[in-house]
Symmetry: C2
Amino acid sequence: MAQKVTITDVARHAKVSRQTVSNVLNTPGLVREDTRRRVLEAVETLGYRASQAARQMRTGRSRLIATRIEPTRDDIDGTVYDRFLHGLTESAAEAGYRVLLYTADDDQSEIATIDDLLAAYEPDAFVLTDTHHGDVRTSWLAGRRLPFVTFGRPWGMPEGPSHPWVDVDGAAGTAAATRHLLDAGHRRIGFIGWPPGSGVGDDRRAGWARTLAAAGVDPAGLDRASDGGVAAGEALARDLLDADRPATALLCVSDSLALGALHAARSPGAGGRANGGAGMPIAVIGFDDTSAARAMGLTSLSQPLAEAAACCVALLARALDGAGVIGEANGGAFDEARSGAGLGAHGPVATPVGTETSRSPGSTMAPTAPGGPPAQVLLQPSLVVRRSA
Amino acid sequence: MAQKVTITDVARHAKVSRQTVSNVLNTPGLVREDTRRRVLEAVETLGYRASQAARQMRTGRSRLIATRIEPTRDDIDGTVYDRFLHGLTESAAEAGYRVLLYTADDDQSEIATIDDLLAAYEPDAFVLTDTHHGDVRTSWLAGRRLPFVTFGRPWGMPEGPSHPWVDVDGAAGTAAATRHLLDAGHRRIGFIGWPPGSGVGDDRRAGWARTLAAAGVDPAGLDRASDGGVAAGEALARDLLDADRPATALLCVSDSLALGALHAARSPGAGGRANGGAGMPIAVIGFDDTSAARAMGLTSLSQPLAEAAACCVALLARALDGAGVIGEANGGAFDEARSGAGLGAHGPVATPVGTETSRSPGSTMAPTAPGGPPAQVLLQPSLVVRRSA
DNA sequence: GTGAAAGCGCTAACAA
DNA sequence: TTGTTAGCGCTTTCAC
């Protein structure tokens, strides 16, 4: 066990009082240059790092950000949040925070867990994921004035100022994908989505419908939905491909559905009917750019998850550490956040095809917070084109 | 912000002194029944939960377990650790611990981060993953007598007592898979592995080689290796299928390589040569049973990751909380650990095909700790059979 | 069986 | 500018 070095040791070594050491660390401006240097040298020599527990007792701040890790879902789509978590841990570390994990099966048990956590570990903030209609977690947290950000919009909430959130513009993504398919000559572009009522699913469907409408294409009979996985995707794809006016391209709300669709599309004879026997192959596009999509050559919409995580941390840092600290603390992640939010620029794109740059008309954009950039950030997904489209 | 309820509030409410409350919570045996009940009632009413920070200052225990989350790898194989992490968080919670996350790019920076964490948050223990030859992290931790478990054997260490570890018997898995292929009539079973020198990869290859040898099959020319992903798997598979004596089945060290191999195996004409024009299709088996494998109908070896995580927590709980508490604290996970470790029974199998039950001869099994079950646990993977084999 | 006192390491307020 | 004092909430002696 490494010897515990306390502030007293440092003070003794630097021949100053304990408080001076504390000042050097927390309020460097108050301390004379040479004293400061001597103290820092002692800190370095002794390898001193302040005890969070002691600091927390005094300041009430734990420098902990808590977030939920979903119960093990072995499906393809579950990996998305894991990637977000990677980014969150990295960004948090850069901002001087650590990530504390918890699990919960539903909203109510999550609230209970948050309550426990609050009493025991006092995390400074929470990052909530998977927001949905009638989300009781956000109102619970907001009611207690606890700092939090959601990765996901406050679906179904009345317009106007809300809690800080970061999200990816799904509608813009599916719009870009639809346009990509239109540009490739497709007209009958089917959509395989989730059943209506899911904020994310409806948003993604809207981008497809809107783009089809703008191109003068009637979407009638091209819309299917399921909350299943690969098998469901395959079945719905077959249904769309066997319809009276069969689809020639399939846009899917998730990679798991898309992989099923891809299987149907690549199966012998699938393209036959739709394209008059020898036309182009059925195009398939998924959503999330999972590793499975990559492996299967599935074109997919990629969410900037690391950026989203960085924005979450930036938003929290702003709320927790006050304005002005943000730029240094997180390596400029917040600037990225702003640029993606609706200033015309779009985030880093490292893919063959550009992103949808225009803001999605249907998306909510709450007014800016007084005296600062918006606390609502909408990032743009990018289309990663592979063999399947 | 929820009103903070301190032990003083509880004491006042129950009309006892502060440490009587503390006694009720920490040493219930010392307190008279009715006093105890009154105090617990007050705790309930007020919703009191002890502050970890304050408790930690006094006891030196944080009830935090720290583990690394790998930098975002968008490959298929990276999802394995994520699933382990889900389980770890759940099991830790059941044992009264929370999981604290950190990131690091290599062993040295991980050690530095651990050192930082130790000074600041004082985690009670660490869970290390991805152990490898010449792992400096374990010796660093062991040298400081810090409690830790690894998920992964201490590859390349001299036999004998070592630190506590939990691992999955890869060789037994590939042996079972090989036997499955032999039973199906295959003789020329190729292996696509990682380059020699990786403990995990070599172990998995050994299970294949040993089983082939036991069946009297000459493995010459059937062994390939790469540290690449899907594309590499496809290339190596083609190589094996185009050889003078082509393979009729392919066993792969990872799902990403296997998915590539599957693509090669399913491509038109692949089975032709090997099976004399019209034989059975090329069989492919992967490792890790990832979501991509499931989606693609790839037969794969499934690691009991949740059990592994539970064993890690059980081992830590034993070291931290002392013997005797384990049974209650973690819901019997430790018993599972023992049974999987070499007592003849095998872990839960929810798959069509049974697991390899016999202990792998090549695997290390350090002596039991004095006065307790072994601190080394070897779990068995199970073969999940799908279309590909 | 219960209560009083001390102190973990830190920092905010105040004194010098 | 630096040092002193006090106390965050808890548990571990030690009296009673």
